[in-house]
Symmetry: C2
Subunit: 266 residues, 2 copies
């Protein structure tokens, strides 16, 4: 599962006492040129996944404390509680001796849960990815390396990409890891963080995430994922974004919510 | 602000080294007779609020690891990062030497944020609380002491209270702390956890929260709050619940999401 670009670039090596060494590459950077928070978080979660006895990511919450640059990081993990069906632990991702990300996550054996499944929501209404357009073209700056790792497709170019933000912070699109690895549960917190935030439709050029919570409902499949990003509330600039990832058959894979601050032009 | 039943029952005393002593009372227990997780969480957050330099609760995520009973608890706090506008810390709530709740929270000075405010959502459509009915009557078992601390009012009795669950896990209602203290920001994580979960409309008798994330948008007012609880996804029994708290003027105060497991009859 980790024999993919994403798997290789989130690999960690145990160095004892619940600590792991990782390397943040320059291959998963956003428009700002900095490695995306969700990518660095995945390195920390990789370490935690090695530490706890279960491997499905049931829920993770992460706080982004300091900017991370390409280079070595250390993940320090601790198990908080390990049971038969769930195991909860925490991880701090450190760079240069400073804690940059703090995350707490519950891993699970999803197959050990046998209750009913119900959905009171609709998947994104999207034409097939084969009939859709690439979201990004040749105009993406080279520093935004993540656009070479992740493909986005849309039924038609959204307002913000056509130079006319719609004013409605809502988007639906297809997304997949270009070199595979999308069936890695730890790709989920990266994927919900790597798309342009819904508030680009308000004229923002990006968003800085302060906190992210993600719940996984099913293990992700390889290939195209149908996504929906929605912001419903912005208070003094502080905004939330809800993100849903569905598979091609209309099954919800994961949902997340972020607390973030807009980056505006100029 | 803490001169209320809620304030008194979530009080903590510093015992040095970032640790605080608290007492879980029997006055905030749910139908199971156990103290509600959101109440015990508020005790931990009270300790963290004493530790960090800012007092508005911007976002908190909490993992409920072990059941807590009435009696002494210890809160162990640590500051992760303190800046001018936000300060993030973690707290563990221990009882009998075991960690029962682990929470991470960012406190803020909300007034230091000066961006725009926008809402793309509607507040609950409720008749005034003065024209509404009490949700609970004389049939509540005495062990559910929280129903004496919190008042709930509804336009009409929901299906589950009339013995005919509607099958749609969605509820709108008024809520307030009976003896005041609702203007305490730390009441918010308690309030979102103390109402009957939306899945009582599926026939469940309750829900056990594994994880809770709450984001505050405005400081809460004293008095009646308009609430909305919605479950959109249940996967093998594991379900989410979104909760919104609005004031009487249609301003969003807080939103939360929980990951939980149903408690079913019999």
């Amino acid at each position: 599962m980790t024999d993919s670009a994403f798997g290789r670039d989130t690999r960690v090596e145990p160095v004892g006492d619940g600590r792991f060494a990782g390397e943040v590459t320059q291959r998963w950077s956003g428009l700002s040129g900095n490695p995306l928070g969700g990518y660095v978080l995945a390195i920390g979660l990789r370490a935690l996944q090695h530490t706890v006895p279960l491997s499905d990511l049931l829920v993770v919450s992460a706080y982004f404390l300091e900017r991370v640059t390409a280079g070595p990081v250390q993940a320090r993990t601790r198990v908080l509680r390990a049971g038969r069906r769930t195991a909860t632990g925490e991880v701090g991702v450190y760079q240069g001796g400073r804690e940059a990300i703090r995350a707490t996550a519950t891993f699970a054996d999803l197959a050990a849960f046998d209750g009913p499944t119900h959905v009171w929501a609709d998947p994104p209404a999207l034409a097939a990815p084969e009939d859709s357009l690439p979201l990004y073209g040749e105009d993406v700056p080279p520093r935004a390396t993540v656009t070479r790792q992740v493909e986005f497709r849309v039924p038609r170019l959204p307002g913000w990409r056509a130079g006319a933000p719609s004013g409605t912070p809502r988007a639906e699109f297809w997304m997949r890891l270009t070199e595979g690895g999308g069936d890695d549960v730890l790709a989920l917190p990266f994927l919900v963080d790597c798309a342009a935030p819904a508030i680009v439709e308000l004229g923002a050029i990006g968003s800085t995430t302060l906190q992210l919570t993600l719940q996984m409902h099913h293990r992700p499949p390889a290939g195209w994922l149908a996504c929906r990003a929605t912001t419903r509330f912005m208070t003094r600039g502080l905004h939330e974004e809800d993100f849903e990832i569905w598979d091609r058959n209309g099954t919800l894979i994961a949902q997340s919510r972020q607390v973030a601050l807009p980056r505006n032009p100029g």
